[in-house]
């Protein structure tokens, strides 16, 4: 609150007419509704909106540059911006070619949080994936390139742009071509710009060159439906899903999209026992595999055979000798028409995808508005391999004079042939990108590109909704413009007529959008985040089933096979310099800061790393041995991690690691598996144990592999599961001895009385897919430090929410896996509270277990006594002091120094905000759904429900009454505020 408002509120007198006029404004400043987002407040006019944008830009300039801090108070308050209150902007995040609506929260002009946009159709609430949220940290990354370079020397933007334009002109003069390489993207405007560029510079060719190239789906779709694109299934209609090597809930860019739709059918209750069934056929152990009701561990060589058999069974009516095939076929055929679906893994062959389409068609799931609707495709998802092969041969033949890389990094991820051609056969290489990466380092000229939060853009979602990406901060790196702006400058230098008078990409975007959607209100669209009236209408496409048999099959041998998959956190390694993502544990392996060679216990024995598949200690020791894996493409050295449930003779590793120029954080983390092969299966020529060891930092079971046989979580009852068939008879999952005859908890002391709110949470383990969005959401909201690999190895990761993963069944082939999100349980009888000698952790009148950082002296007694081990101690000063990383911090959450304890607060700052908002509106209580925690907001599956348990009608109160509910460790009578709903496994035949 400024001095002025204090004055206004306490002293009604005024000295001048101006002051009186301003004083009136004061009451409005804190009037009801001021804490709502600018986004929701549609009363902002266009003029005031532009003023708001420019004002926040101006504020940014003052707030973001440390040396320029001024101590001059704002005598006149910024219009529409109240210091201390956040402003929200709608934007869109392009996760490669998948658009996810975003809302960016800014404070004093700096973005501090990225969440999903609930107004964006297809997303629930603020659901956002890990990369989308973590990209915020990259905005402030000190390692971003700041200056253009020519020949390795820093130069001006103009000089570097001229250099690139010059290379293009040289190519024109020489009658040669210029290749522009772009990543997969989903921006219609960018596509339009590139088309116009090619029109203006006729010798330019545009090639889409993503790091992860999977063409099978597009080739099949082209042959069957005549559409060269990847079709996006709509899993909200699916009641029986058979996933054949498709990790649609894991590393897939569509995982966020699918998770919402999938989870909607995974939470049965006694009243409504409807639940979808998921069969996963796979060689790796994927995130999707963890969610399977039936998981069929299958050798890579058998994967496509499974689809073939399934096809014969479903389409041809044949009976299969493979029980898993028969069971899957039976389930699919028993499903109501249009509700069964088979998904083929992105890295499988076109033939496999063709078979899946044929099966789906037989199940009645293909057609307009069906699960498989040929019009629901990803932009830019057509076949790429052929074009890349073609440009490679053109480069080799010397037809390409210059190559310009638009935010792609082939020097890191492309094939050896491509890299050779680029380095040796192309006269000029230019890059425009975020980091000084591998490709930029071999370039003759490089220009930094602005971050997406600094740039204008557009994106179209799988469902056809068009969004505008608006900048929320002025470019931090010396005003460097966006990639598209730079491309425009270069284009204009080559051909002055290019784009006429359109001077900036901002104008271009606005012009293009207004031309495409003349009825659109620009300001309204910016506020909502989606262009009104867009969205794909379902359409049927004629199907040419006969083309399927002619599609290329994969030839995966039965020898040892390497499967390279995108990393769950890093995907293709673009944001390898992002500490949040590097430290995000893999949902399955819980590995951080590394990619590893995942092998089955039998494979460990085969490699001579363990003596028996049953000897857990010996298998644990097999971990961390470095093996050299050689394919015909190349060789990669990786540490071994024995993974339950893996197919034998299979090695799985993640792409996106092993960057050689990934920035100060990302460089040298893991090994580059692209060297051994692009995404997919590769025959392994040899695996040799090098004798070296490489330490693997996992956040669960450090260095051990379930060292106590028979000690499964179900025996401990900490993560309960239920069979669907048992759901009808379940009454309570908690031991009855913790309650007295009247059902009240046993206690020898008086109960806490919660007169106002009583915050509680329900976590539905049946909905949780393990995607880990919540971990990053919490990290971003609560300023949680990244600790680094060394500290994770010591067991000092700071995440306030973690996803505990428990297997059950055998080590070779676990029958099921439970993911249990674990965070502070805010116990009523909190064991941490009574042991703190200085009363630094106490119980709030609203049921929160509060941590007073300032009071903590760091005895760590609370940590020891916490049965859930959710308290996190700052063993060292973990704050990254590099500028401008401190700008990412949420100003509502205190920083923590070394020597003090921290933990989940239930986002108490958000609770306060909600309460102030309620008070502003004259309400005594916060409405249900008004106070949401960051983890809940980000969860695409709706697995986390938070609210007031004192309000009997609230969602959390209703969910608590579920017959699936239980408290973790209920028998020790801590009485947690977090209730879990048991995971249900669909055991119906």
């Amino acid at each position: 609150m400024s001095d002025r408002s204090l004055h206004a509120s306490t002293n009604p007198m005024w000295k001048s007419i101006d002051e009186l006029a301003e004083g009136r404004g004061e009451t409005a400043e804190f009037a009801p509704g001021t804490t709502t987002s600018a986004l929701a407040d549609s009363g902002v006019s266009r003029r005031s909106f532009m003023a708001l944008v420019s004002a926040s830009m101006a504020l940014t300039a003052a707030a973001c540059r440390r040396p320029e801090q001024k101590l001059v108070p704002s005598v006149k308050s910024l219009q529409n911006a109240t210091p201390g209150l956040p402003i929200y902007y709608a934007s869109v995040y392009s996760h490669r070619n998948v658009a996810y609506g975003a809302v960016v929260k800014t404070r004093e002009g700096r973005p501090i949080k990225v969440t999903g946009n609930a107004s964006h159709p297809g997303l629930v609430r603020g659901a956002a994936n890990a990369e989308m949220q973590a990209s915020l940290l990259s905005l402030y990354d000190p390692d971003r390139i700041r200056r253009p370079k020519v020949g390795g020397q820093q130069t001006s933007f103009d000089a570097a742009a001229s250099k690139m334009a010059g290379a293009i002109s040289e190519a024109i003069a020489a009658g040669k071509k210029v290749a522009l390489f772009t990543d997969e993207h989903c921006s219609p405007t960018y596509t339009q710009l590139l088309n116009e560029f090619v029109a203006a510079v006729p010798n330019a060719v545009v090639v889409t060159l993503p790091a992860i190239i999977n063409d099978g789906a597009a080739i099949a779709s082209k042959a069957v439906f005549g559409r060269d694109a990847q079709i996006v299934p709509d899993l909200s209609q699916a009641s029986v899903i058979v996933s054949v090597d498709a990790d649609f809930l894991g590393a897939d860019t569509l995982a966020l999209y699918h998770a919402t739709r999938f989870a909607g059918k995974r939470t049965p209750s006694k009243a409504n026992a409807e639940m979808s069934h998921l069969t996963v056929v796979e060689s790796q152990y994927s995130t999707t595999g963890m969610n399977a009701d039936v998981r069929v561990r299958t050798a890579p060589s058998q994967i496509e055979g499974f689809l073939q058999d399934l096809h014969s069974a479903v389409v041809g009516g044949a009976t299969s000798s493979n029980a898993a095939v028969s069971a899957a076929a039976k389930r699919l055929m028993n499903a109501a028409a249009g509700t069964g679906v088979v998904l083929a893994g992105a890295h499988l062959s076109a033939h496999a995808h063709g078979l899946a389409i044929a099966i789906n068609s037989a199940l009645g799931s293909v057609g307009a508005g069906k699960i498989i609707d040929a019009s629901r495709t990803l932009p830019n998802s057509g076949e790429k391999g052929a074009a890349i092969a073609d440009i490679t041969s053109q480069m080799e033949s010397g037809a390409i004079h210059a190559a310009i890389f638009l935010d792609v990094n082939p020097e890191y991820s492309a094939s050896r042939a491509f890299k050779n051609a680029i380095l040796k056969k192309v006269a000029f290489r230019g890059t425009i990108n975020l980091y000084d990466d591998e490709t930029s380092q071999i370039s003759d000229a490089s220009i930094p590109a602005a971050h997406w939060l600094e740039s204008w853009g557009t994106a179209v979602s799988p469902d056809g909704y068009v969004s505008i990406q608006q900048p929320v901060i002025a470019p931090l790196c010396d005003g460097i413009p966006s990639l598209q702006d730079t491309l425009m400058v270069i284009g204009k230098k080559v051909n002055a007529a290019f784009l006429g008078s359109t001077a900036s990409y901002a104008d271009y975007v606005k012009g293009a959008m207004m031309a495409a959607y003349p009825a659109m209100s620009w300001v309204d669209t910016l506020q909502v985040g989606v262009v009104a009236g867009t969205g794909r209408s379902a359409s049927d496409a004629p199907m040419n089933a006969g083309a399927i048999s002619g599609l290329a099959k994969a030839s995966v041998g039965s020898g040892t096979v390497l499967l390279t998959v995108p990393s769950n956190a890093l995907y293709d390694g673009r944001l390898a310099n992002n500490g949040w993502l590097q430290e995000l544990p893999d949902p399955v392996t819980k590995v951080t800061w590394d990619n590893v060679a995942l092998i089955s216990p039998a494979m460990a024995v085969k490699l001579g790393l363990a003596s028996s598949t049953e000897d857990l200690k010996a298998l644990s020791k097999a971990n961390e041995n470095v093996v050299a894996i050689t394919t015909k493409e190349g060789s990669v050295e990786l540490p071994v991690l024995v993974q339950p449930g893996m197919a034998d003779d299979t090695i799985v590793t993640q792409l996106g690691y092993g960057r050689t120029a990934g920035g100060s954080i990302g460089t040298g983390i893991g090994a580059n598996a692209f060297v051994a092969g692009m995404c997919g299966y590769h025959a392994v020529e040899s695996v040799t144990v090098t004798g070296a060891r490489h330490r693997i930092a996992t956040t669960q079971n450090h260095h051990t592999l379930g060292e106590t046989p028979g000690d499964t979580p179900n025996e401990r009852n900490v993560a309960q599961t239920l069979k669907l068939s048992d759901l009808a008879t379940v009454t309570s999952l908690e031991p009855d001895y913790i309650k007295d005859e009247s059902g009240k908890p046993l206690s020898i002391v008086g109960e806490y009385q919660y007169k106002g709110h009583r915050w509680g949470m329900v976590i539905d383990m049946s909905a949780c897919t393990g995607c880990s969005s919540c971990v990053i959401a919490c990290q971003s909201e609560n300023n949680i430090s990244v600790v680094g690999k060394d500290q994770v190895l010591l067991g000092r990761e700071m995440h306030w929410i973690r996803l505990d993963r428990y297997y059950s069944g055998s080590l070779q082939d676990p029958s099921s896996t439970v993911i249990e999100p674990m965070l502070c349980q805010h116990c009523e009888n909190a064991p941490c509270e009574n042991v703190c000698p200085v009363a630094a952790t106490t119980h709030s009148p609203e049921g929160l277990n509060e941590m007073t950082y300032n009071r903590c002296v760091g005895t760590r007694y609370c940590l020891n006594n916490c049965p859930y081990k959710v308290r996190r101690f700052n063993f060292l000063n973990y704050k990254d002091e590099r500028q401008p990383l401190d700008l990412v911090f949420n100003p509502e959450v205190s920083g923590r120094m070394r020597g003090i304890m921290e933990k989940c607060t239930f986002c108490v700052q958000r609770l306060h905000e909600a309460k102030w908002h309620a008070r502003d509106e004259g309400r005594a209580r916060v409405k249900d759904g008004e106070a949401i925690t960051a983890c809940q907001e980000a969860c695409p599956a709706g697995a986390i429900i938070f609210g007031d348990a004192n309000d009997a009608a609230s969602r959390v109160s209703v969910a608590r009454k579920s017959e699936r509910s239980f408290h973790v460790l209920a028998e020790i009578n801590t009485r947690p505020s977090v209730t879990y709903l048991a995971k249900v496994i669909n055991d119906r035949a």
Binding site: G795, P831, Y861, R872
Partner: protein
């Protein structure tokens, strides 16, 4: 004992007289001899050997203090602790040192009240050890917090924050217990020293030393009146100290028992900790006395009789802790709690089984040799066993802390802990502090209570003698 002596003893018993006991002071010295012998240690020149030893222990202390400085300036992260395991060597050392101190208190207070005369030869050094051990324990407990510069927040004092400490926390009880213990022990030791300091004041030749001892002896004149008051004060302090023997380690054990973790949350801890503390305290007294006796040539005053008595106490307390170890397993089974059962199986057969069995063999098996009189009187053997017990008792605390914390309720958060060089250095440093202080004590303070030992010499008490019974008095 010779056959004649044995017959005499039996005769004496037959006459209803007090049994004849072994001499507690050998060589039949005069009172003057005793004073001269003990005071000469203070008066003698500082030898090179002494200085060499002192510099080694001083270097250990300095190295530990450097490690402490490094910890305080960098953070607890330089230790090996992690998220499931919030306490490791720090609290292990704290409990270990607190335990060491217990023998001193037991000898000076309880044995005094029970009129165990043999205590007089060893009580001074045992009490000194108590104080030095508590100093080491305080060093550990003050430095183990994340922000040790705020240690005073653990004291209930009126402050501008209007914050009061949390009296529900066992750590708070620790603050009171340990502070009380330190204060009372120091006072008791000093009061006991007064007559001897006065003796030294009169004995030493250097004027500086005379002044120092003069001030410290608080104007002691040795009058009957002084003695009268002195003995009352001493008796009162012994009375105050006596409950401390039981309370301090009971309170320390509450740090664990009040916790809810299986392996900690158990009612057997207070008596078991007290027995263990006395056990380890006697072992440490034994270790140091064997050396002191040899080096300072105090064989006249510290006899095999003393050692034998101490070995008997070690045998008894060792059996008590052994009983507790075994009973814990029974109770874990009997409780019906899966958590309890599992943690004890894990203790004996899990990752830290090596620590558990080190503890068990050192503490339970090794003292069993003291069933044999020859072993109780074999100095090299008892020296080795006493070191075993010191090691075993350290591991007892380590086992309780580390095995409980590393695998508690949720398997997902399990971990493992190993110390870093910093923690090891700090532990070595506490030994450095302890030994340095002890060396200084042995040189500058009478290591044997001169006044007290005279009281148990033949002839000091007219009613008690055995060399010529039947003589007139």
């Amino acid at each position: 004992m010779t056959v004649v002596q044995e017959q005499e003893r039996l005769q004496a018993m037959a006459h209803g007289e007090e049994p004849v006991r072994e001499d507690l002071v050998l060589g039949n010295p005069t009172m003057r001899d005793v004073t001269a012998r003990i005071a000469s240690i203070v008066e003698s020149k500082i030898t090179m050997k002494y200085l060499a030893t002192l510099s080694v222990t001083g270097a250990m202390a300095a190295w530990g203090l450097f490690a402490l400085y490094y910890t305080i300036t960098t953070g607890i992260g330089v230790w090996g602790l992690n998220n499931p395991i919030g306490w490791g060597w720090d609290i292990t050392n704290f409990v270990f040192w607190i335990g060491i101190g217990h023998a001193g208190t037991l000898i000076s207070a309880i044995l005094f009240l029970f009129r165990q005369k043999w205590r007089t030869a060893i009580n001074r050094s045992a009490e000194a050890m108590t104080i030095f051990a508590v100093i080491c324990a305080l060093t550990m407990v003050l430095s183990h917090t994340g922000r040790p510069w705020l240690f005073y927040w653990l004291l209930p004092y009126p402050n501008q924050m209007a914050m009061w400490v949390n009296f529900r926390s066992p750590l708070m009880w620790d603050v009171f217990a340990v502070n009380t213990y330190f204060t009372v022990s120091a006072l008791f030791w000093f009061v006991g020293l007064i007559p001897d300091l006065a003796t030294l004041r009169n004995y030493v030749k250097s004027s500086v030393a005379k002044k120092v001892y003069g001030v410290l002896s608080l104007g002691w004149t040795g009058s009957t009146r002084s003695w009268h008051h002195y003995e009352i004060a001493y008796m009162i302090l012994a009375g105050i100290s006596t409950p401390l023997v039981l309370s301090v380690h009971s309170v320390v054990s509450f740090d664990f028992t009040v916790g809810i973790l299986p392996g900690w949350h158990t009612t057997i801890f207070p008596p078991y900790f007290v027995a263990g503390a006395i056990f380890s305290g006697f072992a440490m007294v034994m270790t140091l006395l064997v050396i002191t006796r040899e080096i300072l040539d105090l064989k006249q005053f510290i006899t095999l009789k003393h050692f034998e008595n101490m070995n008997k106490i070690m045998l008894a307390t060792g059996m008590m802790v052994g009983y507790a170890y075994i009973l814990e397993f029974f109770i874990a089974w009997y409780s019906g709690s899966d958590w309890e059962r599992w943690i004890f199986i894990n203790r004996a057969f899990g990752d830290y089984a090596w620590a558990y069995w080190t503890m068990f063999i050192c503490n339970v098996v090794s003292p069993q040799v003291f069933w044999f009189k020859s072993a109780r009187r074999n100095i090299p053997l008892m020296f080795v066993i006493s070191i075993f017990i010191n090691i075993g008792m350290w591991f007892e605390r380590f086992t309780i802390i580390a095995t409980t914390l590393h695998h508690d309720f949720l398997p997902a958060s399990w971990g493992y802990y190993s110390p870093t060089w910093v923690e090891i250095s700090i532990f070595i440093g506490t030994f450095g502090i302890f030994l340095t202080l002890f060396l200084l004590f042995a040189k500058f303070v009478p290591v044997i209570a001169i006044a007290e030992i005279k009281s148990i010499m033949p002839g000091a008490q007219p009613t008690h003698h055995h060399d010529h019974h039947g003589d007139a008095h």
